[in-house]
Amino acid sequence: MEKVLTKDVPADGSALDIKRYELAGGYQGVRKALKMAPKEVIDVVKQSGLRGRGGAGFPTGMKWSFVPTGADAPHPKYLCCNADEMEPGTFKDRLLMEATPHQLIEGMICAAHAIEADVAYIFLRGEYILSAERLRKALAEAYEHNYLGKNILGSGVNLEMHLHMSGGRYMCGEETGLLNALEGKRANPRTKPPFPQISGLFGKPTIVQNVETLCNVHHIINKGPEWFKGLSKSEDGGTKLYGASGKVKRPGLWELPMGTTVREILEEHAGGMKEGLRFRGLLPGGASTDFLVEEHLDLKMDFTDVQKAGSRMGTGTMIVMDDRTCPVGFVKNLEHFFAQESCGWCTPCWSGLSWAEKMLQSIEDGQGQEADLDRLSYICRMTAPGHTFCALAPGAAEPLQSALKYFREDFERHIHEKRCPWR
C-alpha cells in the first residue's frame, strides 16, 4: 500500500533536511500551487475530500472557501497550524514534525496561498522540544531558499511564517482558544459566530488546521484529487496515521489507507493484546471519544463508520483497555484530566466535570452509591453539545457515557462490594 506522509521518514530518527527533502520531490507542490489561482487550489482540495485530521473531520476545502477573498478582503489574513498535540493518547503529529518538518512547511505554504494569507503561525506544544528545534532549522532553510518571505520563487506571493511555543493547556487545541493564546491571552474559547474564517486572529480572517491535515495538501496538489481518493478504503479520502497504545504487543504508529478496520489496526499492526490479557474496549481517537467494544472491531476507522457506532474516529490514535485494568479507574483518570484542563469559562464544564471526577473517585474508593450512576448520566446530559461554549465538556462526556453503557456491571460491582475489585 502507498505511503504518503511517512514515505520519507528517515529510519535513523533524524529529520529530513532541505536537501534530502528536495531530492525526494519536496517543494514541487509549492511550485505547482503558486502557478495556480488561489481558488483553483481550494477547488482541488475540495474535490479530494480531505477532512481535518485534528479530530473533528471538517471538510478542509469547504472551510477555506468561507474566507473572504479578492480586493476588498481584510488583510493581513492568517493561517495557523494547530500543532498543540495534547489530546491524551495522541502521538501522530510529533512524528511528522520531528521527521519531516519541511513537509509541514510546504503544506502550509500551499494552504496559505489558497486563502491568500500573509502570515502563518505554527502553534506548537511547549513540551515538543525536538519538534521546535527541527522546525526552527527548517524555517530558516525555507527562508534561505525563498520558499518563505517576499516574492516566493518569483511568484509575487509573500508569506511570513513564525513558530509559537505554547505555555501549555489543553484548551489551546480548541480553535478559538488557540487564537486567544496566540494573542497572549488565556485560552478561553470565543463565541461563534463570528467564525475565525471571518474574524479570527487579531480580528482578521484566519484558518486553523491540524498538522496532519496540512501535510496532505501539497501531495494533493501534486498528484490530484482522484489519486488522493484512491488511497483510501472509504469515502473519506487519503491515508491516515493510526496509532495504538496500552497493553498491546506492539504499541506504535502506522500510516494506512483511510478506512482500515479497527481489527486490522489492533490485531495485525499492534499485534493484539499482550500475553494473558483480554481485550475489553478502546477509545478510537484520543480521550474524548466514546468506547468501542468487541462488536465494533470490524468497523472501518474513518469519519463516517465510527460515527455509526456512536463514537468518533477523533485523532485515529486508539487507547486500548485490557481486562486487568479497572474501567472505573480508567474513566476517573480521563475525567481528572478534563476537569483539570477545563478553562472555567462555562459552568456545565468546570462544575460538572469536577463533580464527575469526585464521584468516580468515591466509587473507586468503595464509597459509591447506586444513585451516583444516574448522577453521572445526568452530568453527561448537561455537558452535551449546545450546553457549553466549546467541545471540551461534550468530549469529556463521551468516554464516560459509553463506559456507563458498556461497563455498567463493573461500576455496579464497585458499589455493591464497596471496593475496587481490581485493587
Binding site: G126, E127, I319, F337
Partner: protein, 154 residues
C-alpha cells in the same frame, strides 16, 4: 530588573506579532528560561515592556501549566499522568519518585535539586510510561531506569 539579554530576547520577538501585547507568554517563558521561574518583580518589568497590566499577566501566567510563579529546583521533573501512561504503570512510577526524592507531587527537594510535577499526556504514548526532566524526554520507564536517569541531573 530584566537583564539586557532578557530584554533583547523579548524585543527580538516584537516583529513576529502585529501587537506586542501578544508576547505575554513568550516574554514570561524567556524570563523563566533565565531564572527558572517568574517572580512578581519580573511581572512588573514585563508589564512595562509590553504595556499589559500586571494583573492580566498574572492571570495569563496562572492559566498555563509551563509557567511557574514559584521558585523551582535546578531540575524540573514532569511526569505524565494521562491515560496511556496510567494504564502502563504511572502509579508505581509516581510512588517510586516521591519516595526516592522524599517529596510529594508539586514539591521541591530540600537541596533544591528537583521539583516534581505532574504533566498531561506528553504525546509519546507508544513508549509509555514517560516523563521529562528539564528539556529531555525519557520513555519506556521502569523504576530502575528512573534511578539511573535521576543520576544524570546533579
Amino acid at each position: 530588573m530584566l537583564s539586557p539579554e532578557e530584554r533583547q530576547e523579548i524585543e527580538a520577538e516584537f516583529g513576529n506579532y502585529p501587537d506586542k501585547r501578544a508576547l505575554t507568554i513568550d516574554a514570561m517563558k524567556i524570563v523563566q528560561k533565565h531564572r527558572g521561574w517568574v517572580s512578581d518583580d519580573a511581572l512588573k518589568d514585563i508589564s512595562e515592556i509590553l504595556g499589559v497590566p500586571v494583573s492580566e499577566l498574572d492571570s495569563v501566567a496562572t492559566f498555563y501549566n509551563l509557567i511557574y510563579r514559584k521558585p523551582v529546583g535546578r531540575h524540573v521533573i514532569l511526569v505524565c499522568d494521562s491515560i496511556s501512561c496510567w494504564v502502563m504503570g504511572y502509579d508505581r512510577l509516581r510512588d517510586h519518585l516521591t519516595s526516592r526524592l522524599g517529596i510529594k507531587m508539586g514539591e521541591t527537594t530540600a537541596d533544591g535539586r528537583f521539583t516534581l510535577l505532574p504533566i498531561v499526556c506528553l504525546g509519546t504514548c507508544d513508549h509509555a510510561p514517560a516523563m521529562m526532566v528539564d528539556e529531555d524526554l525519557h520513555r519506556d520507564l521502569d523504576t530502575e531506569k528512573v534511578d539511573s536517569i535521576l543520576e544524570q541531573y546533579k
